[in-house]
Symmetry: C2
């Protein structure tokens, strides 16, 4: 079954594949790969390490090194699992901490040993769990955002009601809605959730409202408390802003137990340059999964942003590639999508996606609920092929 | 006085300067600047915004637009202060959230209105406060890291003792030391702090030990409690991993009240490409200050990393540029520095810096304390000129 947790197996070491660019020859590739082994562990000159125990059991190892293109090598490096100390924060540091400050290194993939992380159960719901929760089978899920910023809580709730009447599955806060004076968090969450609940009573649908809990470190818990008390069906978080581990903490918290939708704000620099950073699949897919997101929003190709179709495919792969014990999650293509593009979206992403259309729903006449129904019909039509 | 808080004044709006690259002509520059105004606020098609209130009071405004080089423009954009809602997390989102996902945009500078952020007092100590705490005047401060990873807590404490005997002002954990089995956090912090205290009793110096509290979101508080109980004199944090606001929270907490040293791990992608991301001064300088760091570690030019002298100068500028109500902080050039380079370092950074030498201190003979004394003599000699 797609998205089900797979049996726990894995490599012996934390295996990380990097692409090295601007490499003149194999000797240089070897030296740079060796440098990564040291930089990401002992951060100490190799000739000054006197302990053979440290050389053997702490420093990373070059497991594979191959030329993949002109001036470009792929290095597979194995780090001892102890180096990550069982924590996502230190794992991130081992994967790409200091070397983020060096040129020409891109992390393209990684694999973890069984139980490498003490407290990373991964997504609580994942694809299957979210489908069960929302009772949606055989088609992509529908999503939209409450916007524009500047509307009052009452106005946003009116929108939420229309959107839920029209059959959107997940209605999220726009990620820029925080606790601003024009729409204070508590009032907005109460009103919007109530509006969605009322619409569900009419339609029989199971639409959920996901407030944005990207918030100051000392306010996140309180906002989640408000969201839960209001009955919100999920949460929106931008891990680039609050930290991946802050999202992991929320997702893993049994007293919260809500689906978490991840937003890519402030993360774009990691994937902006093909010779640097992290691959789309590793960051928006795999790290989001380790950090407990059930779905990952990203800018689809051909919208207002710059991801290519190939990068989007890589991202989708990261949401579902085998990670022992970690569920698959939904990719959520967004960013200037329109009703006209729904057939393309369904063709490209298949059924296992959440399609997010924001502003464009407001373009198709005064009846927002009717535009949502049109969105749903287009998705159902595309999925029945 | 350098580093003292300056009187509170500031612009009316949040003013952000972006460089736009790959721009063919002025009309395109205008369109792209206008796009930023919308993307970072309402994230909604302009023609669909019916409310004149939102158009006037929420959407950003292009305040200046000038051609600064071939195909390159500088756009100064003003966002209403309300949009940030008084919170650092949402300010970061407004500055560079969604547009991090677009190509050819680099944030180079920003200015905030008075009291734009409710809970951002900035660095607790800053340059002056740290000098008073450590009783160091007229010269750069000295720093080093406990490493290599893999040593036991007892071995690291032995190093800490030698380093403190030699007169290092700030001894920090290597940023990869978390809570691994070879050196558990609690044991390490107790032993290392005790070792530094003992050395201080001998020397009369005021050396401080700064344990690394880059940790899981639900462990940070407990580790800081352990650090405080052990008597640690400061804290090390990597905001790229835990989130800038997690550092802000710790720095602003009166029950913690310790100097915070910021480490750049996992932040390099933001500054890696001159046409994208954030400037070195904005990220490592200004955002670190808003997030309460008292000093910012970064890889100096000419070491193992890739920053240029010009980028290092820009970074230093960000640590001291006028930010109303926010103290100046110390730049901490590091990353493969050596005793041989101390005269250059002092010439380049002047007295208002913390010089960090790691592995190279271990290269100069078996007496680590004596190597530290040599470091100190070189710094004092360079500063007396």
């Amino acid at each position: 079954v797609t998205g089900a947790a797979t049996p726990k197996t894995g490599p012996e070491r934390i295996e990380v594949a990097y692409h090295l660019s601007g490499v003149r020859n194999r000797a240089e590739a070897q030296a740079r790969a060796r440098d990564i082994c040291l930089e990401q562990t002992v951060e100490f000159p190799e000739d000054l390490i006197t302990s053979s125990k440290i050389k053997e059991h702490i420093v990373g190892r070059v497991l594979e090194l191959e030329r993949i293109a002109r001036n470009r090598y792929r290095a597979l490096i194995g780090y001892p699992v102890e180096v990550a100390g069982g924590e996502l924060t230190q794992l991130i540091n081992v994967l790409f901490g200091n070397i983020s400050l060096k040129p020409g290194i891109r992390l393209v993939d990684f694999r973890l040993p069984e139980n490498a992380l003490r407290v990373c159960p991964g997504p609580r719901f994942g694809r299957e769990g979210l489908r069960e929760l929302l009772l949606v089978r055989g088609r992509p899920l529908l999503s939209t955002a409450l916007k524009p910023m500047g509307l009052s809580a009452r106005e946003l709730a009116r929108l939420a009601h229309q959107l839920a009447l029209g059959g959107i599955d997940l209605i999220k806060d726009d990620h820029g809605l925080a606790d601003q004076p024009f729409s204070p968090f508590e009032e907005r969450v109460k009103r919007c959730n109530e509006a969605v609940r009322e619409a569900n009573r009419v339609t029989g649908f199971r639409t959920i409202y996901l407030p944005n809990v990207t918030a100051p470190a000392d306010a996140i818990e309180r906002r989640i408390g408000i969201a839960r008390e209001a009955g919100a069906g999920g949460l929106l978080m931008a891990p680039g802003i609050v930290g991946l581990d802050a999202m992991r903490r929320i997702s893993a918290d049994d007293s919260v137990a809500l689906p978490v939708l991840s937003h890519p704000a402030f993360q774009g620099s990691f994937t902006a340059h093909p010779d640097h950073g992290l691959s789309h699949g590793a960051l928006y897919g795999m790290l989001n999964r380790l950090a407990g997101a059930d779905a990952a929003i990203f800018p689809n190709h051909g919208g207002r942003f710059s991801f290519s179709p190939e990068e989007c495919r890589g991202l989708v792969n990261g949401t579902e590639v085998d990670m022992p014990g970690i569920k698959s999650i939904f990719p959520v293509p967004a960013g200037g999508m329109s009703l006209e593009r729904v057939p393309d979206l369904v063709a490209f992403y298949g059924r296992d996606a959440i399609l997010l259309i924001g502003g464009d729903l407001h373009r198709h006449g005064p009846d927002l609920a009717e535009s949502c129904r049109a969105f749903r019909r287009l998705v159902e039509k595309g999925s029945s092929k």
